[in-house]
């Protein structure tokens, strides 16, 4: 099979799988579990995108929820104020599920772009700062964003923003197929970015900024790029979340949420994308499934963070990735003459 044919086959297969998941899963499992899976998807994307900045570029950012908020609210606003009529129009031409599938990438993209812009605005000044100061600056920006949104009445302000629309149009989109597909593609893009030769620049900046500069790497630009890309995907995650829940409130994007996402990245292992994803999935699912624990959930959570740092500071996977060997193929090289 040629490379092109193989790619096409994979894509078609993936598409079929997603459609299947979309149609079948809600019928097979309780809607509560569908919600959990949706939240896992959001958490995974948030954690993996943050890992690019924290784990790979070594810039300690703890305001990620702020960018999710920008994405969530932008996507939601687009849907409520512009999307509803668009979707209604589409539904006259196409069957409703197809129309919705065609429409929904739009608010996600809008959310991602808006968040990315916010990331640039925050990153360009903040990334001049070192370590602790950068952490606090990102925390501060995250809070400023949250408070600013809280004061915008057009998106609900303190009451929160409901994705309501005229009859016949449902803006709520808890499609596991879409969420799964978006998350998978996003993670794949981030992974390719991190593990390319150009992506080595991220880790070079992490290891030694001075040496990186001396080797021709424009460190500030690399940091800003990491920030902008990470914010983009945080925005997408936020928009996914907003549409899956059908309602957004700034309470979902406080600095506690930022800490949680950071915890996923750290506990999974800074420097590991799959680690972050794994930690995000497990730590999002477990408390949901152990709902009976009530307030103990957060206590156990914080204990977990503390104990992990004391006992295994490199996290679950350190800087290794969980790979499915047969899926990864390195380009074949002619072996150079033995030394």
């Amino acid at each position: 099979m040629t490379r092109g044919a193989r790619t096409a086959a994979v894509l078609v297969g993936a598409l079929l799988l997603l459609v299947l998941a979309d149609l079948a899963l809600p019928r097979l499992i309780n809607s509560y579990y569908v919600t959990i899976l949706a939240r896992i998807g959001v958490a995974v994307l948030a954690a993996v995108s943050l890992q690019l900045v924290n784990g790979f570029t070594g810039q300690f950012s703890i305001g990620h929820a702020g960018f999710m908020a920008v994405g969530a609210y932008t996507g939601a606003a687009l849907s409520v104020y512009g999307g509803a009529p668009l979707l209604a129009a589409l539904q006259e031409w196409l069957p409703a599920p197809v129309a919705r599938a065609v429409y929904f990438p739009a608010p996600l993209l809008a959310g991602g772009l808006a968040a990315s812009l916010a990331g640039l605005l925050v990153g360009i000044p903040a990334l001049r700062l070192r370590g602790d100061y950068l952490a606090i600056a990102t925390l501060g920006f995250g809070e400023i964003i949250r408070i600013a949104i809280l004061n915008i009445d057009a998106v609900g302000g303190a009451r929160g923003f409901s994705l309501s629309a005229p009859a016949g149009v449902d803006l709520r989109y808890e499609s596991l197929g879409l969420i799964g597909g978006v998350v998978a593609i996003s993670v794949a893009v981030i992974a390719r970015l991190c593990y390319s030769a150009g992506g080595l620049a991220f880790r070079a900046v992490r290891e030694d900024e001075t040496a990186a500069e001396a080797m021709g790497i424009a460190t500030t630009r690399v940091k800003v790029e990491a920030f902008a890309v990470a914010s983009f995907f945080a925005g997408v995650a936020g928009a996914l979340f907003a549409h899956a829940e059908g309602y957004v409130h700034t309470n979902s994007f406080s600095f506690v949420r930022s800490f949680e996402i950071m915890a996923f990245a750290v506990l999974g292992g800074l420097g590991s994308l799959t680690g972050a994803a794994l930690a995000a999935a497990v730590l999002t699912a477990a408390p949901e499934l152990l709902r009976g624990l009530g307030e103990w959930r957060m206590v156990l959570y914080s204990l977990l963070i503390i104990v992990t740092m004391l006992v295994r500071p490199q996290g679950l996977l350190g800087s290794r990735e969980l790979t499915l060997g047969f899926l990864r193929r390195r380009p074949a090289l002619r072996t150079p003459e033995a030394e």
Binding site: M215, P331, L333
Partner: protein, 261 residues
């Protein structure tokens, strides 16, 4: 003939301290020169000025006639100056291969957006890796390619820093105490390596070191700094006999002074 590198009247002041005072230095294409002097003489500061980490308070730095003082370090690297560091600054948790690849990609300005370009990107990735392995092989580090940089023996780490600097494709290579911590046979191997690298990669090399015999056997010209000022310059034999140099290193009464390392 236009100089490759030229420092004219460079002064560097940190608050009240004068690190370098009215320094003039000139390096022509293909030359192998040394800058020596007691601790605190301003040698590394000089390197920092040349590579853009420390803008001069006064004076200019020119590469090929063009001013580079005030240009950011990564840009200076792209224009053809590479360096190693007094205290090894490798990308420690990255493999030797990755250290060199990162520098290759950096100097070639491989951007992150390249990942979106499909087949062309794949080819460039393969080319990058092949070139990186080649450089490692040239410096005798092929078998360490997939080892973490900080797991390499000391001498190998120093050579890896050189390999990494070479990956940026420089015309001028600055080596900051490359022989530090080496035993005599390692130093001899390094000496031969530097000479062969100079011709093979068509480089000009400026070297900082404390080891006078090492420098004397290697370089065509030696500049001596003391307390930020150039006190002597010329062929090694001449400099070695210069009374100011002897005084700076040994003190006026012939005893090693506190300034000597």
């Amino acid at each position: 003939m236009k100089a490759l590198l030229e420092l004219a009247g460079v002064t560097v002041r940190f608050g009240g301290v004068i690190a370098i005072s009215r320094l003039d230095l000139r390096v022509d294409g293909g030359q192998l020169v040394a800058v020596i002097g007691p601790n605190g003489a301003g040698k590394t500061t000089g390197f920092n000025v040349i590579t853009g980490f420390c803008p001069p308070t006064e004076g200019v730095v020119r590469l090929d006639g063009e001013r580079i003082d005030g240009v950011p370090p990564h840009e200076i690297c792209c224009r053809g100056i590479a360096r190693t560091f007094q205290n090894i600054r490798l990308f420690r948790s990255l493999t030797a291969l990755e250290n060199v690849s990162a520098a290759l990609a950096g100097a070639r300005r491989s951007g992150r957006a390249d990942v979106l370009r499909g087949a062309q990107w794949q080819r460039r990735e393969i080319g990058n890796e092949a070139r990186a392995r080649e450089l490692l092989g040239r410096l005798g580090l092929a078998r360490f390619a997939d080892a973490r940089a900080d797991s390499l023996p000391y001498g190998e780490q120093r050579r890896l820093e050189i390999a990494r600097a070479l990956a940026t494709g420089p015309r001028l290579l600055l080596l900051d105490e490359p022989a530090a911590g080496m035993n005599p046979s390692e130093k001899e191997a390094l000496r031969q390596l530097i000479v062969s690298l100079r011709s093979e990669f068509e480089l000009s090399i400026v070297l900082i070191d404390h080891d006078i015999p090492f420098v004397m056997n290697l370089c065509e010209r030696v500049s001596v700094l003391d307390h930020g000022e150039k006190i002597a310059e010329g062929p090694p034999e001449m400099v070695r006999r210069d009374p100011h140099v002897i005084e700076a290193y040994l003190g006026t009464d012939g005893e090693p002074s506190a300034a000597h390392a």
